[in-house]
């Protein structure tokens, strides 16, 4: 039995965080995985030390295109803590609303991508079409579909007026209905079940030892969610249900996210119903007194951490960012062991990475030293055909 090493140098059609995996395989199964990042390392933490606190809100927003609001909120909260600023109540509610809208938008996007991995082009198109409804709401409120620019230090920059409410509520209702449809598909369709149930197993003990976060952790039955554990914004005041599933497989990871959609919509509806009156921001000084703060938010992919240290000047002494995907990489490597090569794309997609599937795969036969190149599409097609034969 020969062990073959497969470098997996991926790219994604819509998201562009390339990552490299080296797979060691025996026959059809993966025996070891090594991650190699760095393709999209932009040196943001160093840049942050050379920019003012306000400029860094814009930088934080661009750490990730999909978790953009989460990062900006996490960062702003850290600065506000150092300033001793209390953000107005209305701003906390709006942060909660936009954060949950971002979550829904992300989960729809991700659902489409995962469906695409399994060859469900139609489901992918449906999910992305449905996602548009949320993007329209976000554009109504902020003027942008992504990178909303809603957060600022001291509150938010966009208000939600009563004129917007009818359109928002109508679209939220549609999104909630569509989620029911997707749940039905993902729990009943035989092909999806075959490719996701008992695939990519991550036992709860491993999930914890490997420090997984977010839906990836919750799909292994562990009820940890920053919104519930360390409430921020208005999360202490809105109805929140932490969704867990015990399957520990890709199917569970799908179901956690689908179930989170109505929870998020419920939070948004409640927050809109109970939206406080008042200002949406307070003015803050440019200079931040000495101190340190750790800010945590539950981004769509899981726990996001920003550590901020100030030295009494206009620029941070240190900004450290730990985005959720990095936390889930060791768990991903663990769940990839013992899967079939054909399962690789779906298992990777299952952690909802800020990086995704293969653009090209090089298969090296260790014994004959022959190299063969596969494109990401060929790998996807191989996986679909492999499952059709079973």
């Amino acid at each position: 039995m020969s062990t073959i090493r497969i470098p997996f140098g991926p790219q994604h059609p819509a998201l562009e965080e390339p990552i490299n995996f080296i797979f060691e395989v025996e026959e059809e199964k993966v025996v070891n995985v090594t991650p190699r990042l760095g393709y999209i390392h932009r040196g943001i933490e160093k840049l942050a030390e050379n920019r003012t606190y306000l400029q860094n809100v814009y930088l934080a927003e661009r750490i990730c295109g999909i978790c953009s609001f989460a990062h900006a909120a996490c960062y702003s909260q850290a600065v506000e803590e150092l300033l001793g600023t209390e953000v107005p109540e209305k701003a906390r509610f709006i942060r909660t609303i936009i954060g949950e809208m971002e979550r829904v938008q992300n989960h729809y996007l991700w659902l489409g991508l995962t469906a695409k991995e399994m060859g469900f082009e139609t489901l992918f198109m449906y999910a992305w079409r449905d996602r548009e409804k949320m993007l329209e709401i976000l554009e109504l409120i902020s003027g942008k579909r992504v990178n909303y620019g809603v957060n600022t230090i001291g509150g938010v920059r966009c208000d939600i007026s009563s004129e917007m409410l009818e359109e928002i509520k109508d679209k939220l209702h549609q999104l909630e209905e569509r989620a029911k449809y997707y749940k039905s598909v993902c729990t009943k369709d035989q092909t999806i079940l075959k490719r996701t149930v008992d695939v990519g197993i991550l036992a709860p003990r491993d999930a914890l030892k490997l420090c997984a976060v977010g839906p990836t952790l919750r799909a292994s039955g562990v009820a940890r969610d920053v919104r519930s554990d360390y409430p921020y914004a208005a999360y202490g005041e809105v109805p929140l249900r932490v969704v867990t599933y015990k399957g520990c497989d890709v199917s569970s990871r799908i179901l956690v996210r689908i179930d989170e959609i109505p929870v998020s919509i419920g939070i948004v509806e409640y927050a809109l119903e109970n939206l406080p009156i008042g200002p949406i921001r307070v003015r803050v000084p440019r200079v931040v007194p000495e101190g340190e703060a750790v800010s945590l938010v539950e981004a769509p992919r899981g726990e996001d951490l920003h550590y901020l240290r100030s030295d009494g000047s206009e620029k941070p002494a240190r900004l450290k960012v730990r985005a959720p995907t990095l936390a889930n990489l060791p768990a991903l490597c663990k769940m990839l062991v013992d899967v079939n090569i054909a399962d690789i794309p779906v298992v990777i997609a299952g952690i909802d990475p800020c990086i995704a599937c293969a653009e090209r795969v090089i298969m090296i036969d260790v014994e004959s030293k022959k190299r063969k190149m596969w494109s990401g599409e060929e790998l996807r097609r191989y996986a679909i055909e492999w499952y059709q034969k079973r």
């Binding site: 140098g9 059609p13 760095g38 393709y39 999209i40 932009r42 160093k46 840049l47």
Partner: protein, 116 residues
Amino acid sequence: MASRAPKFDLERFGILVKGSPRHADILAVTGPVTRQTRSRLLRIYGQMPEPKYVIAIGSCAVSGAPFIGSYNVYEGVDKVLPVDVYVGGCPPRPEAIIHGVLGLIGKIRSGKDDDK
């Protein structure tokens, strides 16, 4: 680093997203070019058959912004490859990207690539 052109109904203009550079006419680069991706980008560009074109999509592909000054980011794709069309925006709206792609196709069709 190569990305496929986004699926904003570009297919209705006769544009397909291809998985392999060997089958592509246009290389769409989104996002900032880092040191690590530079060599891969050059390799992918090298594998494309002539005539070939490059679109830089998004402010970071156009100029490196907001990461200018970083130790790991080039100030635009054109520091690495010849660029035919620049589409600014952070991110650019789908309409802007389509406008850029169609603009490039117009440029190709009108023969303005004679000096390539």
